[in-house]
Symmetry: C2
Subunit: 357 residues, 2 copies
């Protein structure tokens, strides 16, 4: 594969780490990045190290509390609480490569004819924010790949509504390409290959967040929204003290069952099973860095010869959620670039990029 | 995806079971099949049940002892010893759908303009048999997918030598798409996504072959070629009694280390690690049906943030090797059809169809 020139929208946790990981990957050249206040563009490739130094502590959230961009199964890497936001002089504008502009995303849209792929590492500030960003690229006639790392089901439907426009432009959009749903639904899709019928997919993640806790308060808040008696609205309204009280009640270890993740709809989309056959849960320990449980995907199904069995995929406990977000995001991006170059456009979940079921 | 009309060359174990599995898969319509003596063609779809009844016990081997087509990590499903061959009146010619023809493959080549995909479930009778079959399709201007389930490295190189011809015709060739290397290197490619550097891939299979032993003598023979002190030539020359003596020496449980499989070259091709970092081994128990060890893929690597970890993929012990050959073969076939329809041609290993590393 030839070099892939790509842009990263957002230089919070995911955006920054994607830039960092890309320096360790052949074929990937980051040529543009933006945050809320600025943009850096260099067709010869960004100086990632300088940019990372300048954007340290940059968080793209705007305080709306919509943390759709949390993509790592528990350990937030982008969030809406903005605790680390350093104001208008921080971030890309502080880089020697950066310029302050009124519309940073617009600058990248304008330069998109030279891009093969764009990673949307933005929080979904409003529910349709990511879909609207996709529209801007389509309107500009961008022919290439867009990848997001969201995990809420509703965004996928909104992208589907725009699929014709995306296809007309020549865009291959991969939705939810981080750890979960991306990595783990991909694993489920592969594990399903032994079977002619999948009975159940169980995705269970573990996150140890002691040293990362301060950086991930927004995520913990979002996770609380998944607990019985809470929802996104109530969690958004809670004070820090109320959040702490919930954590204390659970002795720092919060267990989640039947989370509303996009995993279910993405596996159904890929034809692997019904959404209702997918369960997602996890355990978050904010007082230890060790994972309280091993992140595991189990797929139970029936083989063509009538046996019932369970295939299992386990992530090593030493793999950080960051590693499990950024590797797959770039892996799916590469696969999508190949697809896009061949002229295969539209909206895809990660599991649809796997061997067919 | 629209319906995929496909042909199966060979109605030994893999060919027959692929036809069977395809009846349980949406989108797949088998329209042609052949064996050594005959061909069955029906653009509206074959009557698989009738064909399976007619071809029961059909083995495509010719007694040369070249068992390259054994593709399941230990339990042969095609082999060269022909123990079940029932002569020229058996197989497809015994089906009401079959016709005796001098050149069954040629008949399918002639009808290939109506095919989306062809599964080559043939033993690699001579070393370049499969590559030569591919050439015949290319010469006929076939635009579509070819999939084999071989596992010897050398065939891949021979296909690469013909890549230009395949690309010119419009062929997408997926090589080695069965259980191993196909399924298990695909799993390794996915498991690698947590890492920026893969240190080692260890593929270990278990096969219990008590009730299947009589049907799989050819494989056991090939497996013996992997033992210290044996090679393909010596194993080919051994009498049945000598084979039995080796099995007795091992009390029916034969362990294999550092097998020459295509897994290593396919993972290197996909850029995941060096071939030398891949080890393949397994345990074959010919006196029990239970697997002596669980089939496991472990991938150890380094994350972008400096951790070392191991991700693991395990197949449930109840999944037969047949299930693990045929599901992935058809899964990769579907993925390749999508690729082919988009105009992406050439020779690919299964791991190259996964998210990029």
């Amino acid at each position: 594969m030839d070099t892939i020139e790509f842009a990263v929208l957002g230089t919070g946790g995911i955006g920054r780490r994607t830039l960092e990981v890309s320096t360790q990957k052949d074929e990937l050249t980051p040529v543009a990045a933006c945050d809320r206040h600025g943009v850096a563009l260099d067709p010869d490739g960004l100086d990632v190290e300088e940019l990372l130094d300048a954007t340290e502590g940059n968080i793209a959230g705007d305080g709306t509390g919509d943390t759709d961009a949390r993509t790592d199964g528990g350990a937030a890497v982008e969030r809406g609480d903005g605790v680390k936001q350093h104001g208008a002089d921080a971030g890309i504008v502080a880089s020697t490569q950066g310029q302050r502009v009124a519309d940073p995303i617009g600058e990248i849209v304008d330069a998109s004819d030279r891009l093969d792929a764009v990673l949307l590492a933005l929080p979904n500030l409003e529910h349709d924010f990511i879909p609207r960003v996709a529209e801007r690229f389509a309107d500009a006639g961008y022919e290439g790949v867009l990848v997001d790392v969201l995990k809420r089901s509703r965004v996928i439907g909104m992208l589907d509504d725009r699929e014709e426009q995306l296809v007309d432009a020549g865009i291959t959009f991969v939705c939810g390409a981080g750890a979960t749903p991306g990595f783990l639904t991909g694993a489920a899709a592969l594990a399903a290959q032994s079977f002619v019928e999948v009975e159940s997919v169980d995705i269970r993640w573990g996150v140890g967040l002691k040293s990362g806790y301060e950086d991930n308060r927004g995520t913990v808040r979002e996770d609380i929204a998944h607990l019985d008696g809470y929802d996104m609205e109530t969690a958004r309204e809670m004070s820090e003290a109320e959040i702490e009280a919930v954590i204390d009640e659970h002795d720092g270890v919060i267990e989640f069952e039947d989370m509303e993740h996009a995993d279910d709809v993405l596996l159904e989309r890929a034809g692997i099973c019904d959404a209702e056959d997918v369960t997602v849960g996890g355990v978050l320990d904010v007082r230890n860095d060790e994972k309280p449980v091993t992140t595991t995907v189990t797929v139970t199904g029936r083989t063509f010869d009538g046996e019932r069995a369970t295939n299992t995929f386990e992530l090593g406990d030493e793999t950080s959620m960051a590693a499990n977000v950024n590797g797959p995001a770039l892996g799916y991006l590469k696969a999508a670039v190949r697809q896009n170059r061949a002229g295969d456009y539209g909206v895809f979940g990660p599991a649809e990029l796997m061997p067919g079921f």
